[in-house]
Structure formats: C-alpha cells, structure tokens
C-alpha cells in the first residue's frame, strides 16, 4: 500500500494548481492522471486567455500549462501518468491502476478530485460515420498531433468550445463550412464569434443537424431549421458538403468517483448536470474529500485553476500546515479572483449556481 498526505486525482489546470498550492505549504502530494501527459486540456488551448493580469490574461493556455508543469517539477510533486483511479473507499483508500498495468492501493489523508468533464454528444442518423467527432477530438488532432481531421468542417454548437475550435481549425488550414446553433442566440463570447465571422464562417441559429450522409465516411451533412418549440421545420433542410462534423454541445462534469465515494449531489443545469455539493472551501459532504474545476460545474480553465488553489490551501490547512488566519487570508485572495471571473452576463448564472451548491451543502448534516 502506498501512503500519501494528499492525493490529487486529475492533472489538469485544477488538479495541478491544487497540487502546487499544497506542495508549497510543505505537504506530500501525488497527482494521478489517466492520460500519458499532464496538463489536461491546457496544451490544446493555443489561444490567449481572458481575465486580468492575476489570472494570466493574454497568456496562451499552452504556456500556462508549461508554467504549471515547471512549478510541479520544481516542488518535487510526484505525478503518476497513465494511471486510472477506479474507486474511492470511505476511509480515503483509493484503488488505482498504475501505468495501465499494476493495481495499487493508495491511502491518502486528503483527496482532491479534479477529474474534469466529458463532452456531450447528440445523436442523429449517420453519427457513427468516420468523420463525426467531438470538438475536443478535433482540437486534439490539430493542436496536439498537428493533423487536420478533415478538409471542410461543420461545427455543431456555438458555445465557446465550438467557436474557439472553429477558429483553431481555420488556423490549422481547414475550412469551416458553418457553425450551427439550436438556440435562437449564439452561445459563445461575442469576440470569439466575431473573429470567425470576419473569417467568412456563417452562423445558423435555430438550426440543428438532421443527418450525416456518406458511404464509408462523412461526405455531407443536412441541417434543418427549428421552430420556437425546437421542432424541425420540414422543407428548411440545407446540405453542406463536408468531410467532418464536429460536435460541441456542452460538457458534463466527470463525477463518477464522487458518486462512488458517496458524495451528495445536486442537479444544476447551468453547471452541466449533477455536481457534488461542496462548501466554500471546496470540501464535499465526505470529510477530507475536496473537489475543484469542471467536476464541480462546467466553467473554464481560469476558474478551474482558482478553485484548485482554494482546494489546495484548504486541504493543507486542515492538516495543520496553516493557521486559521493564514488560511483565511490566502483563501480570500483566491475568492476575490474567482469572483472577478464570475461576473457579467456569462458569469452571473454560474455564480448564483455555485452559491446554490454551497447553500445546499450547508443545509446537509454530514454523517461523519
């Protein structure tokens, strides 16, 4: 059995930030990630981040990833890659499959769950044809492996993921035939939509994909207009000759481990589905199990990093590395930065939803 002070599950922006914060205080930390490289989605994010200087605004995601990895190394944080955490038992015993080969038990004093999210899919005739893929997959193709997934792409979904990946596909030299949005209004930031718009990409609001056509791969896609009740309007079909259909229809928190551990949940559509309840220190209804990042509700990397820091600070504080006063001061700094990100028409809803999670957590008496 392997013993550690803190086990961080997930080596993305939230997990790495949490690990760094905990290791800075002097705690022994091990980060586990099922991927063969750490960094989560950061290394696919070649665009400049928003926020303020404190949030590393203007720095590209890929460079933020590099900075986090450098710090992780400098602090001597152990990172287990190709490592899948398969279960969490009540006494903070983790069942881990290390390097895809070896079953290991890990006993941790504290656990930080930063497992991220999974892409949602939509289903339509032809969706199993090669050439239909998640927008995240297309982004991995171009930005990690430097391979164009196709020549001409149809993007389904106009949220930030759909619009940013469309832009990056254009940068990779692909053509984006159109971006299709089922809602009557576009979802992503206006600056992102404007960027692809001036590159000549048309948007189709109140439209959805009807089917993908092709022999052995996608050769074309049919879209159709939706009425006010989101029902297809016959006769409004449009055909696009494309070889790739990317689906960017939202994300769902990847919270299986929190379910297994016995955390209490709440269904919050604005946060992407079921999210584990947590207090404002990121601790769940299971004592010593903390959460951070997309697993606690879909946001973006900037807020995931702040939540990670919050979880990291509180975990080590609960182990006695910080006095209450120190903990409060450090937490307040992070909370201020988080608050700055959760404002405006995009952030407000997330802010109230997050507060809902914290309020619901307060109303529950912990069994421990």
């Amino acid at each position: 059995m392997y013993k550690t002070s803190i086990a961080v599950i997930g080596g993305g922006p939230a997990g790495l930030s949490a690990a760094i914060e905990a290791a800075k205080a002097g705690a022994q930390v091990v980060v586990m990630d099922e991927n063969s490289r750490p960094g989560g989605q950061l290394f696919k994010q070649i665009h400049k981040f928003f926020g303020s200087q404190q949030h590393k605004a203007g720095v590209r995601g890929i460079d933020i990833g590099k900075e986090l990895l450098e710090e992780t190394q400098k602090l001597g944080i152990e990172v287990w890659l190709d490592t899948e955490v398969c279960g969490i038992e009540s006494n903070k015993l983790l069942w881990v499959v290390k390097n895809k080969t070896k079953s290991v038990q890990v006993l941790a004093e504290r656990i930080i769950l930063a497992s991220g999210a999974i892409e949602n899919s939509i289903y339509f005739p032809g969706w199993t044809l090669p050439g239909v893929m998640g927008a995240g997959a297309a982004q991995t193709f171009i930005n990690i492996y430097r391979v164009a997934p196709g020549k001409r792409i149809l993007m389904i979904g106009s949220g930030n993921v759909g619009v940013i990946v469309s832009y990056q596909l254009l940068q990779a030299g692909c053509e984006v035939a159109a971006i299709v949005e089922a809602a009557p209004k576009l979802g992503g930031y206006g600056v992102h939509t404007a960027k692809v718009c001036r590159a000549g990409v048309p948007f189709y609001t109140s439209h959805t994909v009807l089917r993908a056509l092709g022999e052995n791969k996608v050769e074309s896609a049919v879209i159709i207009e939706l009425d006010d009740s989101w029902n297809p309007i016959p006769g409004t079909e449009k055909v696009f000759e494309v070889d790739t259909i990317c689906i960017a229809t939202g994300l769902t928190p990847l919270a299986e481990l929190a379910w297994i551990a016995g955390c209490r949940f709440k269904y919050v559509p604005a946060l992407g589905g079921f999210v584990p309840l947590h207090d404002d220190n990121m601790e769940t209804t299971i004592e010593g199990l903390y959460v951070a990042g997309d697993v606690t509700g879909i946001e973006e990397a900037s807020s995931a990093m702040e939540e990670g820091r919050l979880a990291g600070i509180n975990t080590v504080a609960s182990l006695g590395f910080y006095s209450d006063k120190q903990r409060e001061r450090l937490c307040n700094e992070v909370r201020e930065r988080l608050d700055a990100l959760r404002r405006g028409p995009f952030g407000e809803k997330r802010k109230t939803s997050k507060e809902e999670i914290i309020t619901s957590r307060k109303e529950i008496q912990c069994p421990q």
Binding site: H47, K48, F49, F50, G51, S52, Q53, H55, A57, G58, V59, R60, A148, G150, K151, L170, Q171, A172, G173, I179, P184, K185, L186, Y189, G190, V191, H192, T193, A194, K195, V196, C197, R198, A199, G200, V201, F203, T205, D243, A340, L341, R342, R343, G344, P345, F346, G347
Partner: protein, 182 residues
C-alpha cells in the same frame, strides 16, 4: 442578454449601430482625425489586458473587470500596443489620414501563411465579405505580441468604415498534403 447585442448574438459580428453605442468605439470626429484604436468589445466578459497594455491610460476597464473598455479618444494616439494584447482579437487601429486617397488599418492576424510587405491582399468586412483591395505596408511579429502578428494594410479611403481585416491567404502546402491523404 440585452437586445442591444441582438446582431452580435445572431449573426456573430457586431453591427455598426451596436458598435457606435459602445464606449470603445471612437466618435466620427476622432475616428477620422488620425490613427486611433477601435475596440469592438460590446459584451461584458471578465477581461482587461487592453487597459494594462495602454501606456497612456487611454483605455479604462476599471472594476469589476467585466466592465466594457472605455476609450479616451483624447489620449489615444493609435500606437497599437493594445492590438495584440487583446485576447479576443477585438481591437484594431485605423488611420483615415494615411494619405490623400488611402486609409490604413493595423489589425491582428493569426493565420499562416503570413503575407509579405508590399503584397496585394483582399480586405473584408465584419462578416468576412470582400470589400476592396489593399496593400501590405508592415508586418509586426515582435516577441511582445506573443505570437499574434499585427499587420498594417493601406486601402481606399471610401471603404474606411467597412474594412476590419483581410481575407485569409490559402495555405497551398496544407491543401496538397490533404489531397494525398484523403
């Protein structure tokens, strides 16, 4: 979302009317007085690097950082330091006084291949539609831009209002590779 941003939220790009009602868009007089920054940021998102980038304090976001950037037309000299600083690529500089017949636009351009100085290029409007021809005057790929090339192009004055960028150049190398693989 307020109805002010209707065009932005359906078409994808802001309309001139939406822009003219925003605090980052210079008034007609200052727009044509000389080089000046034009900020096409009409939606409140948490972001303020434009404010930090301006050495003259001509762009104010303030607190909270979701506030829209306000351009001080008196202070802005159109130096263009904000162009590559904007993560949203929403800022460009225009100079109506570039020459008797031509205006100049300085804009961010993150596509390969890059044009060369002296190249004739096609200028586009906010919806990517071709507006007129232009001539590349300068390409700024300084390290400070953090991999966002900033391109200066001169174009006929009468298209001053419409032009916001240039048409992407075809990447022939990529296209030929695909023909082999697909």
């Amino acid at each position: 979302m307020s109805s002010i941003t209707n065009h932005l939220k359906t078409v994808g790009s802001p309309s001139l009317k939406e822009l003219k009602g925003s605090p980052g868009f210079p008034d007609e007089l200052h727009l044509k007085k000389g080089p000046i920054a034009i900020i096409e940021c009409i939606e409140e998102i948490p972001c303020n690097p434009c404010e930090t980038a301006c050495p003259r304090g001509a762009i104010i976001v303030g607190h909270p950082i979701t506030k829209l950037p306000v351009l001080d037309v008196e202070k802005c000299i159109g130096c263009g330091l904000c162009i590559a600083a904007c993560p949203g690529l929403a800022i460009y500089v225009k100079d109506y006084t570039y020459s008797d017949t031509e205006a100049m636009i300085v804009f961010p351009y993150e596509y390969y291949p890059l044009p060369s100085t002296g190249d004739k290029v096609t200028m586009v409007n906010r919806r990517g539609r071709e507006v007129c021809g232009g001539k590349v005057v300068r390409i700024n790929i300084s390290e400070k831009n953090n991999k966002t090339p900033v391109i200066s192009v001169s174009f006929p004055k009468k298209y001053f209002e419409k032009v916001v960028s240039m048409k992407r150049l075809l990447n022939k190398r990529f296209l030929s590779q695909w023909t082999i693989h697909l």
